[in-house]
């Protein structure tokens, strides 16, 4: 195999196991004597639990135990927590209601776990769970966030009066008021961001075991961040002290945010395995996933944009109500605040911004970060406003954006963020050219001759990745630091193991991280292994989310490599009797510049471990660790152009072309980056056209299976036209920005802007189903006839 360094389209090292059925996912794990868990779940959205009768279930075949919330609380297991403190504008802390992993008193959403059955087989556990009789007293429920704030709405948690969790603000309200007072034009919209279900294809699963002789727990689980899971399970839930708890996240089948959090089920398996004295496995079925995996989005906003006479933006005013569901999930409080309102400046010079965000309890599944997390909501709002404002003032959407672009860096926005680098003209130009924007009018006319409505829409997104630095997020309320760690172990034979706190669940770290080592030492990537996902192997790590594994995780590896390289050079210089400064690493060899003296990487590694002839005072071995704490967020940005054709007879929208021009900073593996964009785009297109978590007024989730929730399928989406433009991020050693979420962030407004352009009507909410589009088509057809 050739040396494939930074920039190579290296094929993935991990693929062979996945394409031959040799992946090892949590549900593939089997432990001797293991039992299976099934949960008893509430069929009601809001109800008092009057009594639980498990007698019939306990007498069924194979049943070990039926455990309830009273036992859980009695064993001292703590409540689930939200790890990011937000204060309301009056200074009061957010109002967090208690969340028990098994609820003994009041259930607050359909699907909430009340009891768990452990039995010999999954089927026996399911049968017995169905035989547990729970007596409920139903309470009135509320599912809509706006309705939940109204006087007289059902009260969900005693801690949060009127269901208000916090009433938060950011920005200078007086400056914004002044901007609107002198505005030449004001664009005003109500903007809804529909609730989504993340839906990684692998449902959540857990396999917990307890060794009573060692008082030690092991948990295999579907986690994006096993160390954070261990920390929270230990420090807050009192399941076990950290050194007595090993968390392993093996192959994980996608996450998209939903596998960041510590959920009741995984915790209950740990606790139950100790209680019943056998390993306990639980695997979510798809409907359980719909009912219990943290959902995403669900915002309602009023937005106003002020323009001066020259169509420059002078102010933005936003009022958002965000639905957090029945409980505050691990990072839920940060999503509609610091991950959302801080991005409301988009790619634009906006001198004054003020946002007010109210978060609300409802009788629905908890809402937390889902691919993009706050940034899709901000981008959708800003880019719908930009397109609408351009139409209102009669400018081309591209020209209006260009007029307001940020062009000087660093750029301090009025909402915390300081953009470090970017070139928004470059990605806009590239996208317009690839989309043949200039030729659109002719295509629209041609489509009209076939009776079709054609539209084009833009979205110029910006996002903030690699959430950091730790001190900054700490000051904003984060309960953890957001650094990353790495350890580089050079083995005596010169092969390299990299232990990383990042976690790969589809991102291809085993390939891209190895490319970094190949680049640095000239080693074949077959000589490099990437180790992740096991708290017994990796010292600590914050995991993978927020597009942070490149910008933060790889930066930690670079720091560790710097140390390894420095030591290897010292050893080589000593062995070859040369000056340390003259040693160069090239093609797997350490060479003395200007001479033919050289040692192979293997020879230097071996010398480090035999330790027969090391520089005076040097420790043996060649292994270094590093922690990397970023200096700033990173700011990926780009332009997406969507072109649609609508059949007015059916309301069916076809995406005929989709162009993405992204700036992710340094790209390590273009093939993998393109794959990330493809996947993100389809999740965003899914939000725009197909997906919606729909509740009825009683809190029943109507879309709780793939027969009801419309996942994007291959025939719903096109192939994509992608390009990247590289402005390096000055904040990290590789210049990386992150690419994991951009597609999902940037695409929904491009799609909706295209459809509303085609229809000549702006009154459209996501998802733009054929029924909604057909209704609007009737107006468009009528207009055309007149």
């Amino acid at each position: 195999m050739a040396i494939e360094g930074i920039g190579a389209r290296a094929l993935r090292k991990e693929d062979k196991r996945f394409i031959t059925g040799k992946g090892q996912y949590t549900d593939d794990m089997v432990l001797p004597g293991m039992g299976h868990a099934a949960f008893v779940r509430s069929p009601h959205a809001h109800a008092k639990v009057i009594g639980i009768d498990a007698s019939a279930a306990l007498s069924m075949p194979g049943v070990d135990a039926v455990l309830t919330g009273d036992q859980l609380v009695g064993d001292g297991i703590g409540n689930l927590i939200c790890g990011w403190m937000i204060h309301s504008k009056d200074g009061t802390p957010m109002k967090m209601g208690g969340w028990r992993a098994l609820e003994p008193e009041v259930v607050r959403h359909v699907g909430q776990a009340i009891a768990v059955v452990v039995a010999d087989t999954p089927a026996e556990a399911r049968d017995a769970a169905d035989a547990v009789v729970v007596d409920y007293e139903e309470l009135p429920a509320v599912v809509d966030a706006v309705a939940a704030l109204e006087p007289g709405a059902p009260q969900i948690h005693p801690e949060a009066e009127g269901n208000l969790i916090y009433d938060w603000e950011i920005g200078d309200e007086a400056a914004v008021n002044a901007a609107f007072a002198s505005a030449a034009h004001v664009t005003k919209m109500e903007i809804r961001n529909n609730r989504l279900v993340p839906n990684p294809m692998e449902p959540r699963a857990a396999l917990a075991s307890y060794n009573d002789a060692e008082e030690h727990h092991t948990l295999y689980t579907t986690s994006q961040n096993p160390h954070v899971a261990r920390l929270v399970l230990s420090a807050f839930y009192n399941v076990a002290p950290e050194h007595k708890l090993r968390v392993i996240a093996p192959d994980v089948g996608g996450g998209f945010g939903s596998k960041i959090y510590i959920y009741p089920e995984e915790m209950v398996c740990l606790w139950a395995s100790k209680r019943v004295g056998r390993p306990v496995k639980w695997v979510s079925d798809r409907t359980e996933a719909f009912l219990t995996d943290a959902h995403g989005r669900d915002h309602v906003s009023e937005a106003e944009l002020a323009l001066d006479a020259d169509n420059r933006i002078t102010g933005l005013r936003v009022k958002t109500i965000a639905n957090l569901g029945a409980y505050m999930s691990l990072f839920s409080s940060s999503v509609p605040t610091y991950l959302y309102a801080t991005l409301l400046s988009g790619q634009y010079n906006i001198p004054a911004i003020h946002a007010n965000v109210k978060t609300v309890y409802t009788n629905t599944t908890a809402v937390d970060a889902y691919r993009g997390a706050g940034r899709p909501e901000a981008t959708y709002l800003v880019e719908r406003m930009m397109e609408t404002a351009a139409r209102e003032v009669g400018l081309s959407p591209a020209d209006f954006r260009r007029k307001n672009f940020v062009r000087e860096f660093p750029h301090q926005t009025p909402v915390i963020m300081c953009y470090d680098a970017g070139d928004y003209d470059a990605t806009l130009d590239a996208a317009l050219q690839a989309a043949d924007y200039a030729g659109f009018a002719a295509r629209k006319a041609e489509a009209a001759s076939r009776g079709k409505l054609r539209g084009i829409g833009l979205s110029c997104y910006i996002e903030a990745c690699g959430i950091a630095p730790s001190a900054a997020v700490g000051s904003l309320g984060a309960g953890v630091g957001l650094w990353e760690s790495a350890e580089v172990r050079v083995n005596p034979v010169g092969t390299v193991e990299v232990l990383t706190g990042s976690h790969s669940h589809g991102q291809g770290h085993e390939t891209t991280f190895a490319q970094l080592i190949s680049e640095r030492f000239g080693l074949d990537s077959d000589a490099v292994s990437i180790v992740h996902g096991d708290t017994d192997k990796v010292q600590f790590g914050m995991g993978t989310y927020g597009s942070r594994s490149g910008a933060v995780g790889m930066s930690a590896i670079v720091k560790a490599l710097d140390k390894v390289e420095a030591k290897a050079k010292k050893i080589a210089a000593h062995l070859m009797e040369a000056a340390e400064g003259d040693i160069q690493i090239e093609g797997g060899e350490l060479k003395v510049a200007g001479t033919d003296k050289k040692l192979s990487f293997t020879e230097v590694a071996l010398a480090a471990y035999t330790a027969h002839n090391l520089p005076e005072g040097m420790e043996p071995g060649l292994k270094e660790g590093a922690f990397y704490d970023p200096t700033n967020f990173t700011f990926p940005a780009g332009t997406y152009v969507c072109e649609v054709e609508i059949d007015p007879e059916t309301g069916q929208t076809e995406i005929v072309s989709f162009v993405a021009a992204d700036d992710f900073g340094k790209v390590i593996n273009p093939m993998i980056v393109e794959g990330q964009v493809h996947g993100g785009l389809v999740q965003g297109i899914g939000q725009a056209l197909l997906e919606n978590a729909a509740y009825d007024e009683n809190g029943q989730l109507l879309t709780a299976s793939y027969m009801d929730y419309t996942m994007p399928r291959a025939d719903d989406v096109p192939s994509f036209n992608l390009s990247t433009h590289e402005t390096l991020c000055p904040g990290n050693p590789l210049g990386m920005k992150g690419c994991g979420e951009a597609g999902a962030i940037g695409s929904p407004p491009a799609v909706i802007n295209a459809i509303t352009d085609a229809l000549g009507s702006n009154d459209l909410t996501m998802p733009a189903t054929p029924e909604k589009v057909w209704q609007l088509c009737q107006g468009a057809v009528k207009q055309a006839a007149e």
Binding site: L11, R12, E14, D15, K16, R17, F18, I19, T20, G21, K22, G23, Q24, Y25, D27, D28, V30, A123, N199, P200, M201, E202, P203, D251, V252, G253, G254, F256, V283, D285, R286, H505, G506, Q507, G508, M671, I672, E674, G675, V677, H678, G679, G680, L681, V682, Q683, S705, Y706, M707, M711, R713, A714, D715, V717, S719, F720, G743
Partner: protein, 163 residues
């Protein structure tokens, strides 16, 4: 309990199972072949696709007893790490997988698709239409479609060369 016997990846196997045992449970839990996955249990996502007597079947929606006496092939049966099936190789070559969870069903559906249409006879629209029964959340389908097209074309070349 019922006795279920079948040829699984070329090997005759036989086990006594509960009548309600699904084919996918038989493959995964009884026979320990974990390459076949369960993504939805309602025949929608296609992560569990295997071949039963040469036809693609969602193993989460067939009882093991219904497959008794049949010839069943799973992902593990079409190729190996040292001898990849052209479709397996194409998925790697074209980055047609990310997390890998839907991949077994995607590959088994793709092999079936190529068998039914004939190698070399697949265009993008047909492939997208045929993938209706397989959901992927990672790749956006772009590279899966490319991989299947490439495999189909390559297999056509192979069969021509063999003639």
């Amino acid at each position: 309990m019922s006795k279920v016997s079948m040829v699984l990846n070329g090997k005759t196997v036989s086990s006594d199972v509960e009548d309600r045992t699904l084919l996918v449970s038989f493959i995964r839990d009884v026979r320990g072949l974990t390459g076949t996955h369960v993504g939805c249990d309602t025949s929608q996502c296609g992560a569990c696709v295997v071949h039963v007597d040469g036809k693609a079947v969602k193993a989460c929606t067939m009882l093991a007893v219904q497959a008794s006496g049949s010839d069943v092939v799973t992902l593990e049966g079409i190729g190996s790490a040292t001898s990849l099936h052209p479709v397996q190789a194409a998925f790697r070559e074209h980055h047609g997988l990310q997390c890998g969870f839907c991949t077994p069903g995607m590959i088994m559906s793709a092999v079936d698709m190529i068998n039914r249409h004939g190698a070399g006879n697949l265009d993008e629209a047909t492939i997208r239409d045929e993938l209706e029964g397989n959901i992927c959340r990672c790749t956006g389908y772009h590279n899966i479609v490319k991989a299947i097209k490439a495999a189909s074309d390559q297999m056509a070349g192979m069969s021509q060369a063999a003639e």
